[in-house]
Amino acid sequence: MPHGAVADPDEGQVDQLYAETRQLRLQGFLLFLVSDVVLFSSFIFAYLYLRNTLPAWPPPGINRLDVGFAAFNSVVLFGSGVTMHYALESWKHGKFARYANFLIATIVLGAAFLAGQGYEYTNLYMREHVSWSGSGAFGASFFTLTGMHGFHVFVGVCYLTVLLLQSCAGVYTKEKYFGLTAGTLYWHFVDVIWVVLFSIFYLI
């Protein structure tokens, strides 16, 4: 078997294989995120379309969404994006403790965002009497889109917890840590989707 110009066959084979496999997985994962973006875009299109067909938005009898709390909750989620970024940076520089702290902070902030979302849902349902199926296109689009996003955050929190346990168990090394890159990509994706959802639901 030719091994190219690599001196140590075994060593060379593993690293070349890792590099090529990593590239495949990276592209595949990014394409998966692209298709997820399309999924969100379709629902966003549906929301904007329904909103556009109605004479008034929000429909009569429904109050505007509370911008203040949403801004607070958004900052919680955006903050988790920053901590995730620094978690990966720390890992790249071999600072494990710093990495673990940042990752735990990310998980906590993500969970806090979910709690905030739960608080907002409860508020809407109990005080404003807005529900998924009983409030026309408003409830349908708002709860479907934010619920879908919340589900992605939930999956992300679980995913990051698994990554934390895996990295404690020594699955990743300083050179080979594609799982962490993928986790960071996913978490950033979840953040960035929220930028769009926050803008279209609360700001316009």
Binding site: M1, P2, H3, G4, V6, P9, G12, Q13, D15, Q16, L17, A19, E20, T21, Q23, L24, Q27, G28, L31, F32, V34, S35, D36, V38, L39, S41, S42, F43, F45, A46, Y49, L50, T53, L54, P59, W132, S133, G136, A137, F138, G139, A140, S141, F143, T144
Partner: protein
């Protein structure tokens, strides 16, 4: 960092898994792209037979203007499941999952697709989705036509929800296959195979994969919304609760127009392989055929509302959609004329595969031209929802895609099985199919112009003659297709041994034994040029040992 030299040695190309032993891992839950491709085809043809029977039910019902073969409700179920199954369970899986899986990795000189396990997962979603769709007959199948427009699709039993789930599942499968193919084609080509040296079938798959990925996900959103509206009463489409039925039409056609290109672009690729091989001439306009596939894929995303000219779209929106639809005809025309120029002056061998490819050229062109009719707003207003539309899309999907699928099977069957198909039976198959097809669907055009609406179980007596003509012709076509299955089964046992390259074709898969080994290539070859220059020596190096008895490559540590 990114590794530029994809096959410099020690990488994926030299990482060979040991061949699995045992029937289950080898033929059922296989991760080998060749087996998965054949699995897709077999499953697809099983569903083809089932939905073909539904089609014949339709034709028998329409033999008499008063109907009477099945009840009106059953008739609605029959045409709905027929359309859905033919699109999602037959043509799309066979042309992407089937041909794409079997042929594409061989043609680019790879050992497998990028994610073999994902490939297996994609495949196994497909039969599950099919069973879900067909079992909806047990509880009351969907009745709103394959387009499932609300508000009709919001009514009715659990069958429509099963339809949603089935199509969602096949959509996920299609999306994952698209991702898999894009990464495979981008990253796993043999050294020296630049983009402009790829076979045209690979180009066609590269144009199709983003469509399967992006458009199908948009459909998934529409289906999810329909499902939760049906199951939980969440108003997206119901106008009485603040939804909009036109929203479904937008989301559905944003998928389903690109879906036409998902169904036909791979077939363009198949035809682009067959025509030069059997004309013994380099393909005319290689780059133009390749790039026009990409152009069709791109413009295909911007034309969906031409299905909705009668849905109350604002006139200033209708006009751009009409013009963009005409724009699609330009790259399609580039392809058609390139194929004709490939034939021109060639030494044409009229094998069955070539006959089907030529049949494709004629029938698809007719289907494309009626598409131009339909894209014209004034004409569409007259013809919308009539049998003209039915005739049009059957010319595209049966005359185009299905004829191309037959061409591809006659062409690659020797590579898949190691045996030739029977040419005499094949020519009968082609003749009966071609005559029966035209007899069935050509009269539908004038029935439509005269005003016969689609999706009706009874109709005005004045249309009875041509409906009977179509029905009788459809029996001829069905008999022709029956000969195809007879031919496949007969040839699997009794066909002549094919050898490596029975057609004298030049793409990489024909330089390997038939059927190819599990690991495809003993050594990954180097590529030096286009595969279509019939007067030149083969543009590959490193293939000398493929047809000899030299030992198989050693599997690198199994894991």
């Amino acid at each position: 960092m990114a590794v530029q030299a994809a096959h410099a040695g020690g990488g994926i190309a030299d990482h060979i898994h040991p061949e699995p032993q045992g029937f289950i891992r080898r033929y059922v839950f296989s991760i080998d792209h060749k087996i998965i491709g054949i699995q897709y085809m077999i499953t697809g043809f099983v569903f083809f037979i089932l939905s073909g029977l539904l089609a014949e039910t339709i034709r028998v019902q329409l033999m008499n203007h008063a109907g009477g073969f099945v009840s009106n409700d059953t008739y609605n179920e029959v045409y709905t499941v027929h359309g859905s199954a033919m699109v999602w369970l037959v043509i799309i899986p066979i042309v992407t999952g089937g041909f794409g899986n079997f042929v594409m990795p061989l043609q680019i000189g790879a050992r497998d697709v990028a994610f073999p396990w994902l490939n297996m997962l994609s495949f196994w979603m497909f039969p599950v989705a099919g069973l879900l769709l067909f079992s909806s007959f047990l509880v009351g199948a969907p009745v709103a036509g394959w387009t499932e427009y609300p508000p009709i699709s919001l009514e009715g039993g659990v069958g429509t929800s099963m339809w949603c789930a089935a199509i969602f599942l096949i959509g996920v499968s299609s999306t994952l296959t698209g991702i898999n193919f894009i990464v495979t084609i981008m990253q796993m080509r043999a050294p020296g195979m630049t983009f402009t040296r790829m076979p045209l079938f690979v180009w066609a798959q590269l144009a199709t994969a983003p469509l399967s990925m992006v458009a199908t996900t948009a459909l998934a959103a529409a289906l999810a919304a329909l499902f939760i509206e049906r199951q939980f009463g969440v108003p997206f489409y119901d106008p009485t609760k603040g939804g909009s039925p036109v929203l479904w039409q937008h989301m559905f056609w944003f998928y389903s127009h690109p879906a036409v290109y998902i169904m036909v672009l791979p077939v363009f690729g198949i035809v682009s392989e067959i025509l030069p091989t059997f004309s013994r001439k380099p393909i005319f306009g290689y780059k133009m055929i390749a790039f026009s596939s990409m152009a069709i894929a791109l413009v295909g995303f911007m034309v969906w509302a031409h299905h909705m000219f009668t849905s109350g779209l604002a006139p200033y929106l209708q006009l751009p959609f009409m013009i963009l639809t005409y724009v699609v005809a330009v790259p399609t025309g580039v392809k058609i004329f390139s194929w004709l120029a490939t034939l021109w002056g060639g030494k044409i061998h009229l094998t069955t595969a070539m006959l089907f490819a030529l049949g494709f050229l004629a029938l698809f062109t007719l289907g494309g031209i009626t598409g131009i009719f339909l894209a014209a707003i004034p004409y569409d207003l007259h013809i919308h929802g009539t049998y003209f539309v039915v005739g049009h899309f059957h010319y595209v999907l049966v005359g185009g895609s299905l004829t191309g699928i037959f061409a591809g099977i006659y062409y690659w069957f020797p590579k898949m099985s190691g045996r030739m198909m029977n040419e005499t039976l094949g020519k009968w198959n082609f003749a009966l199919f071609f005559i029966g097809f035209n007899g069935t669907f050509l009269p539908m055009h004038w029935l439509g112009i005269l005003g016969m609406p689609r999706w009706v179980p009874q109709y005005d007596p004045q249309f009875e003659f041509w409906n009977r003509f179509a029905s009788v012709s459809s029996f001829v076509m069905t008999f022709g297709i029956l000969l195809f299955f007879v031919n496949v089964i007969w040839s699997l046992r009794n066909g002549k041994k094919a050898g490596a390259n029975p057609w004298g074709a030049r793409t990489l898969e024909w330089q390997l034994p038939s059927p190819p080994h599990y690991y495809n290539f003993k050594h990954i070859p180097n590529v030096y040029g286009l595969p279509y220059d019939f007067s030149l020596p083969l543009p590959y190096k490193g293939l000398d040992e493929e047809l000899t008895d030299s030992p198989a490559p050693v599997p690198a540590g199994s894991h």
